[in-house]
Symmetry: C2
Subunit: 361 residues, 2 copies
């Protein structure tokens, strides 16, 4: 039996003692969702006003980060990106040795390196839910903000925390868990999220400087609204994510600029054929976002022993555009159910996904 308002999948996590450190847009949304799913959740935020707002929403907020994480089984680190290495250290010291830690920062290599330096790879799982809004703060948070999101997790050398957290994210958030190495996440996020923030900033900023900006805004419909939306993100958050992934962002921006140069050159010379070919190519990629066909692959691995094969398969799954839809541990084995783009439905090739696994049930 489950409580009213929680599902059977969620019921497995009822009563789990979790904490959220940093209860802004993302952290607040995680906290509210965990609470609604029946977990025992505490929170903390450095801002007293945010703490008061959280209490008004009926959330258990403590006055110090140490009090919030003491005795917890799981802690989400949701503060601003530059604060994560320090917050990780503080939370690790204040929590028990088996407490699983994760974060929601928009880049992963730096915080993963900090965890390695701090000897936390056995219990820290770098994470990044690919959702959000151009709004900020707990007032914009809600328990459904992250429902169904793609949620990157970076499996480390010890996979038990990864498996357990994957199960929770699947059950509570209905997440599509994308397993990726930290460096591969940062490269993909540069194009999937950070460069779009640069383009949106350039389009909105150039409108500030054009000859008749008010007429532009009067005419702004879908393409301009969509193309500038994330320019309204609080500047500090945008700047943090760009600076936190600088090398990858600049590298991917080079490719986008080259494509833009190509389009502009074809436009300048009136080369209809070349323009059409470029837009056919670009449109085919964009349509994959909604039209992609997936196939299911099941793989299992021993729970104990060396995890190299498991980690390799997981990272390969994410790199091929796949995600995890189930993760079950039984009788000494972990079984993953992955969804992978069907052959011919990848961008440039069929996915380098693993072969279909034997169903060992």
């Amino acid at each position: 039996m489950t409580d009213a308002g929680t599902t059977a999948a969620e019921a497995a996590y009822r009563g789990v003692r979790a904490a959220v450190v940093g209860t802004g847009l993302i952290g607040g949304s995680i906290l509210l969702r965990l609470r609604d799913a029946g977990l025992d959740v505490t929170g903390w935020d450095p801002d007293p006003t945010t703490r008061d707002q959280a209490r008004e929403r009926g959330v258990s907020i403590l006055e110090t980060v140490e009090a919030a994480v003491a005795g917890r089984e799981l802690v989400f680190l949701c503060g601003p990106l530059p604060t994560l290495p320090t917050a990780l250290s503080a939370v690790a010291a204040a929590s028990g040795p088996d407490c699983i830690l994760t974060d929601v920062g928009s880049t992963k290599a730096e915080v993963a390196a900090a965890a390695a330096r701090q000897g936390l790879l056995h219990r820290f799982v770098p994470g990044h839910p690919m959702a959000g809004a151009e709004l900020a703060g707990l007032t914009a948070a809600g328990p459904t903000l992250l429902d169904g999101a793609a949620w990157v997790l970076c499996p480390g050398p010890v996979t038990a925390p990864f498996r357990w957290l994957t199960g929770l994210l699947l059950a509570v958030f209905g997440a599509r868990v994308v397993p990726l190495a930290a460096a591969e996440h940062d490269r993909a996020a540069a194009l999937a999220s950070h460069v779009p923030h640069l383009l949106a900033g350039a389009l909105a900023g150039a409108t500030h400087r054009t000859a008749a900006p008010d007429a532009v805004l009067a005419l702004a419909a879908g393409s301009f609204r969509d193309g500038t939306r994330v320019a309204a993100t609080p500047a500090a958050r945008t700047v943090n994510l760009l600076l936190g992934n600088r090398e990858e962002v600049l590298r991917e921006l080079t490719g986008v600029r080259a494509y833009l140069d190509d389009l502009a050159a074809a436009l300048r010379t009136g080369d209809r054929e070349r323009l059409t070919a470029r837009y056919d190519e670009a449109g085919a990629v964009r349509r994959l976002l909604s039209d992609r066909a997936y196939t299911t692959r099941v793989r299992d691995f021993p729970v104990d022993g060396d995890h190299t094969g498991e980690v390799g398969w997981l990272r390969e799954t994410g790199a091929a555009g796949g995600y995890l839809g189930a993760c079950q541990v039984r009788e000494g084995r972990v079984r993953y159910t992955a969804r992978l783009p069907r052959a011919g439905s990848g961008v440039t090739r069929g996915p380098d996904g693993p072969a279909d696994a034997v169903d060992r049930r």
Copy 2:
């Protein structure tokens, strides 16, 4: 009394004989809306399949453009941009001398020049509804697609057709009619619509060429989805609108690239302060799209005689970011009710809007 399903405002246009030439996404949506509002509408499309689809939706479709426009009071030209000058000539020849003509093309200077050459300025009103979708064709059309849209109309030396069409668009579509000179429309549309298509194409196209495109798509959330949406527009339509406004698009693209260069340079040197200042500026412009405060201005002009003052005021209203909310003719005068960005709510200055008019009612 009005029929069920039509409003009092629409009732004034019941039975008006209108035609739509080109019944794709935009033309089809106009036709369906006009029909639902009680107008007597005929249509024509060069594609026999589209004609059949339109008939299946209960629309009166004729076999030739001449038959569709004969005896009509109003014709919307909704074919592809490059066909408009020719279509204008054909429709003008097949319609009566008092039939008002308008179009929905994404650029206005070229078709306005064609109308001048053809001696049609007394009955052709260049138009451009600022709405649409990345989809195409009658199957994607619907009677509500253009509801509430910003709809540019270019007032010419004879304003009677402009006034009448403005009244119809306000009543039937709930449009915000933005009056602009054709050249000013084209410049504003370059940044409001055409450059966003270039940026979307570059972002989606570069994804095709990056090292791990499938992982990018797996992570794609709001900013990538929004930033690439119009890349899925049929390539031929995108190429038409870019080539149709080439000079203005390239000029505005220069400004966007300069802003992007500036962002990239600040990112490369890790200049947090400069990045933040740029995003503060860009964010302020973007937030005006939803937060802008408007004030109402009323002006009237004599219906007869020289229309220079009326046309100048109208164009000034659109250039300042304003739009028309009402247009009434009575006792030899036309009264416009305009909504203008409130002083301090423009981008770089208070609007150069006209002074408050005396209410002459």
